[in-house]
């Protein structure tokens, strides 16, 4: 673990006498390695290690009996602090349907997460409408319709090739007529560098004015997480992030990268393929996981 590695480094350095700033830098190399191996973005790691360094040098680590443990504590607290407060909820609006829009790269888990959120709100007593706005991936509409049947939740279906903007408008009209509490728009996966498809998302946003745009990201994402999250956030001003597939053994450094570059909260984590596998985001759990 990182604390073991740091203890070893500082033990060896203390053997030569009192610790100095250069020794702290030796220890910080281990921190840098641990974060990079956990898929935290290179530039995010650089800034992070710098702030840990400033805090370490200023906090008496040099005179401590257990400098390794001190540094780990600082790293952990920095991580938790950076990740934001625990449980940032999705605020439901009174007197009209709350509109949520799911966006992200191909295969990140948007459709499944749409089902999971729908189930969650239904359990909370809301009337939910899922909108099948992915009219381009083969059988995407079937996929959401199937999830709706499994959950006994209404789905505004569509036909392949329909204009997603029109589908979302129809969905919102139906939600208003039927007094739905929550509408969740499932969009097609797309690349952040595909200008016309990113413009399409802007058009959906302009047409239905979602209360929250949720960026669904795969927790196994590597260094690319920063580029992707930044693009989606700059284009759409996302309300928050949902990190999926956290039931695997990915360390999840993408969580720190995405948070650092967008400043937006991580609201939920996907913890499995079943529709009940969604949990609120706990920064301390993800911090421990990133540290290994």
């Amino acid at each position: 673990s990182l604390s073991d590695k740091l203890e070893k480094v500082f033990k060896k350095l203390k053997g030569r006498g009192v610790l100095n700033e250069k020794d702290v830098d030796e220890g910080l190399k281990e921190v840098r390695m641990a974060l990079l191996e956990a898929d935290v973005n290179f530039k995010v790691v650089k800034d992070f290690v710098q702030s840990v360094r400033d805090k370490s040098v200023g906090s008496g680590v040099l005179d401590s009996l257990t400098p390794g443990q001190q540094v780990v504590k600082i790293v952990y607290n920095e991580l938790v602090g950076l990740m934001g407060e625990t449980v940032t909820r999705i605020a439901l609006v009174p007197n009209r349907p709350t509109v949520l829009m799911m966006v992200g790269l191909q295969g990140s888990g948007k459709t499944t997460t749409t089902g999971k959120l729908g189930r969650m709100f239904k359990k909370g007593g809301r009337k939910v409408l899922l909108v099948a706005a992915d009219t381009q991936r083969p059988a995407a509409i079937d996929q959401l319709v199937t999830l709706g049947k499994q959950l006994n939740i209404d789905v505004e279906a569509s036909e392949p090739g329909d204009d997603p903007v029109e589908v979302c408008k129809r969905g919102l009209e139906r939600a208003n007529r039927g007094a739905y509490g929550v509408v969740i728009l499932d969009t097609a996966g797309r690349l952040h560098i595909d200008d016309s498809l990113m413009d399409q998302l802007s058009s959906v946003k302009a047409a239905v004015k979602p209360d929250e745009i949720l960026f669904v990201a795969d927790s196994m994402t590597g260094q690319d997480a920063v580029k992707v999250a930044k693009s989606f956030d700059e284009k759409l001003d996302i309300a928050g992030v949902i990190l999926t597939k956290m039931d695997g053994d990915a360390r999840g450094g993408a969580a720190l990268s995405i948070r650092a570059v967008t400043g937006k909260p991580i609201k939920f984590v996907g913890m499995g393929e079943k529709l009940d596998a969604i949990e609120p985001f706990f920064p301390d759990r993800v911090a421990s996981r990133i540290l290994g």
Binding site: F42, L105, P138, A139, V228
Partner: protein, 277 residues
């Protein structure tokens, strides 16, 4: 010599950053950087303009070492397509079917993902686009039974290549890995000694976890090749260098988009050049 820039720490730091940003990982990157530093120390490399060339060559050497094309023979070849959730298995199979058909092969597909909503429907649509039959059962059926029937149909219809789609599964879920081993045993039992591929599909946006995926899928069923998808994005997929170096598993194809024609054979030279773009 005038005009020859020295290779200093700043330059090596710059290259190291580029390699890490491409998801080569800390270990593979430091190994390659150390070997370059050794060459500099022994005065075998002293020109900064040749540094990138040296690094590219080292990476290329790792990638070409185990490279091999897709296998097929005179009877029925089976390609078992596996990988974690959402990486592009089903889409890749549609593309492969189309590519192999255009090369004159007789291809049939087996929809052995009987778990995920509309998975079989998705493969059936791809089969229609590629002009190949798709063998499927209804949702919840035993995947092993689908494979058994697909092999029987492939033989009866005298097909040359059977490509099997499986459900996405995390490599850490032992019950799902056991299911995969069971599917593999059906193939081994029905077609002993026939040419086979076990193709692990990896998403180019995945970081270091791809190495863990490759290790565990390889332990379970023996991976013969990798398909690296979504290279049309901004991720570089450098983790395949670590996988080649540690496990000797070659990349056979790359996915570069969502359309049926967006599949290319893996070209190590092109890949290495793109790492440094």
């Amino acid at each position: 010599v005038l005009g020859k820039k020295k290779i200093d720490d700043a330059l090596l730091d710059e290259i190291e950053e580029l390699m890490i940003l491409s998801d080569l990982g800390v270990e593979t990157t430091s190994r390659i950087i150390s070997s370059v530093q050794e060459k500099v120390r022994r005065n075998e490399l002293d020109d900064a303009s040749l540094l990138k060339k040296e690094i590219k060559e080292q990476i290329r050497a790792i990638l070409v070492r185990d490279s091999a094309p897709l296998r097929y023979g005179t009877s029925l070849a089976v390609y078992l397509v596996i990988g974690v959730n959402g990486v592009g298995k089903t889409t890749t199979i549609g593309k492969m079917a189309s590519m192999l058909k255009s090369q004159g092969r007789k291809v049939i597909l087996g929809a052995a993902d009987t778990f995920r909503a509309a998975a079989a429907e998705q493969l059936v649509l791809w089969g229609e686009r590629a002009g190949t039959d798709v063998i499927r059962h209804k949702s919840g059926a035993d995947p092993g039974a689908v494979v058994f029937d697909a092999i029987a149909a492939a033989r009866a219809r005298e097909q040359e290549i059977l490509i099997i789609d499986t459900a996405g599964r995390l490599h850490t879920k032992s019950n799902l890995m056991e299911e995969l081993k069971k599917i593999n045993r059906v193939i081994e039992r029905e077609l002993p000694g026939e040419p086979r591929e076990v193709l692990l599909v990896l998403d180019a946006t995945t970081g270091q976890n791809a190495l863990s995926q490759a290790k565990l899928f390889n332990q379970a069923v023996g991976v013969t090749g990798i398909v690296l998808t979504k290279l049309d994005g901004t991720a570089k997929g450098g983790i395949i260098v670590a996988i080649a170096s540690e496990l000797g598993i070659p990349v056979k194809m790359v996915g570069v988009g969502e359309k049926i024609e967006d599949l290319q054979p893996f070209d190590p030279n092109e890949f290495v050049e793109a790492l440094f773009d």
